[in-house]
Symmetry: C2
Subunit: 301 residues, 2 copies
Amino acid sequence: MNVSSIIEKLHDRDPRAIARAITVVEDNAPQAEDILSSLDRSRIDHALVVGFTGPPGAGKSTLTNQLIKVCRAGGSRVGVIAIDPSSSLSGGAVLGDRIRMMEHATDPDVVVRSMASRGRLGGLCAAAGAVSRVMAASGCDIVIIETVGVGQLEMDIARLADITTLVLAPGLGDEIQAMKAGVLEIADLIVVNKADLPGSDNLMMDLQALRSDGLAILSTTAVNGDNVVELYETLTALDKEQQENGSRRQRRHDGAVLEIIDWAMDMVRPIIKERAVFLQQTDDPRQAARLLVDGFLHEKE
Amino acid sequence: MNVSSIIEKLHDRDPRAIARAITVVEDNAPQAEDILSSLDRSRIDHALVVGFTGPPGAGKSTLTNQLIKVCRAGGSRVGVIAIDPSSSLSGGAVLGDRIRMMEHATDPDVVVRSMASRGRLGGLCAAAGAVSRVMAASGCDIVIIETVGVGQLEMDIARLADITTLVLAPGLGDEIQAMKAGVLEIADLIVVNKADLPGSDNLMMDLQALRSDGLAILSTTAVNGDNVVELYETLTALDKEQQENGSRRQRRHDGAVLEIIDWAMDMVRPIIKERAVFLQQTDDPRQAARLLVDGFLHEKE
C-alpha cells in the first residue's frame, strides 16, 4: 500500500490501513512522516485524548474496558493505546490488556494497540503521541492512553493527554508515594478504583485533604461497572471546560513539545551510536562523549 | 574543594571527598570531566565490577549485604551502587537498600550510593559507569552495581559490569519471562536465591536445561548467608578467567561504548529541549523534530 492509499483508507476507517499506519508510525519507518503530515487535522482537533496512569494492580485495564463499553453505548468510536514501557518481564500486563480487550475485538469501532519498549530506550512517548493522532484521524472520538506505572516516561506520556487520570486503589501501599512523585501535580482527575474494598474511604479522605484546586476525585468499582458512566461524564465535562478556557489548546502545545523532544532524541540516537562504536579511545567515556558531541555539532563549520 | 584537592583526597580514601566526587559526577556538574579524567587508572583496571540484576523480591539487597560481609572479611574494600530507575513510586526499594546497608554505615571501607532517575530519562547508565570508576579510584577492590528490574535500562547498566549476575528466586513467576527477555544472554552467572523456599529445585532444573555454555548457576539463601562465600569465589574465579582470556578487556570497551552513547544523549538533550520549547509550529511533532534535527546538524554549513 502506498501512502496516499493508506491515508485514504484510514480516513475511511479501514482496519487494515489503520493497523498498517500505526505500525509504520510506531516503527518510525520511512513512510511515517508522510502519513503523519497527511492526517485529517479536524479529526485530530475533535478527538479527546484521555490518559490513564497509576500503579500496577489499580485496575486500569478493567476500567478502560468498562469505559469503552460506555463510549460505545453512546455511539463514540474509541482508540486505546496500552503502553508497558518495561521489558517483557512485566509483559504480563500488556498481555492481560489484550486478553481483556478481546470482548471488543470484533467491534470495528474499537481500535486497540499495545505498545512496549521493544528493547529501546526512548521514542515511546513520540510513538504514543503519533499513534493517538492516527487513531483520531481514523474517526476515533476518544483515545485512551493507558500506561503501567508512574515513572518519568509514564508521566511524560500522560502529559500527551488532554485529561490525565491517575488511577489508584486501596491497599496498594503506593498512595502516599504517588503524592511525593509529583503525579498529583499532573493529574486532572483521580479515580479511586476498587471502591468496594476496605480502605477506599480512607484513601478518598486522604486524597480530598491533599488535593489542590480543580482536581476532581471519583470512586469507581470497575469490575462491576459502578460509577463508570459518572467517570465518562466527568471526563467530557472536564474536556468541555478545558476547551472553553483554552487550556486544552495549551496542553496540546505542551504535549507536542515533549513529543518533539522525544522524536528528535530518537533521530539523533542512531547517529551518536554509529559514531560511538567506532571510537578507539574509550578509557574516559564522559570525555569521549563530549568530544563526539562537539564534533557532531561543529564539524560543518 | 577544588578538583585537584578532591582528587588527591579521594585517592586517599577520604569519605567526604569521595561523596563529593560522586555527587559531582552523578549530577554531571561542571567539575565532572576534570574529576573523571584525573582518576587513578590502575585502580580502575584493578577493581572488579559486578552487576546484580533481577526482579523485585529476588533478594538482591540481602545478597549484596551478605556479599559485602564476605568481601570485608577477606580485607577487600567494597563500593555499592544501588539503582532504582523508576520514580519514587517504587522508591521503597532504594530506601530498603539504604536501611539494610546501615550495618556497614560506620565501615569506611564500604562506599554506598543509591541512585534514582531524579525525574530524568537517560543519563543513569552514564552516571552509574562514572560513579563505579570513582569508587574504584578510591581504592574499592570490588564495585557492586545493583539494579531493580530487568528492563532495557537495567540491561544496559548490567552491561557496564565485568560480571553480570541475574538474581532469581522461586515463586516470583518471572523466571520464564526472564528467559524471553534475553536477560539470560547477558548474564554470566545466575543465582537462585531463597534456595530454602519450595520450588527452588525446580527453578534450578529449569535453568540448567535452558542455560548456554559457560553460564554458571548457583543457589544461595542470602537471608542466612548460605553459599555466599561460594558466590564470592565463583565471581573471583570468573573474573580471573575473563582477565586471562581477554574478555574483561572487551567487555569494558563494550560497556564504555554504551556509557558514551548515554553521556552523549544526555549532553544533546538540553540543546534539543531548548530549541523545542521555542517552536511555534507544533501541529506535526515528527516533522517539527526532523526540521529541528536537520537544522541542528547542518546549520554550521
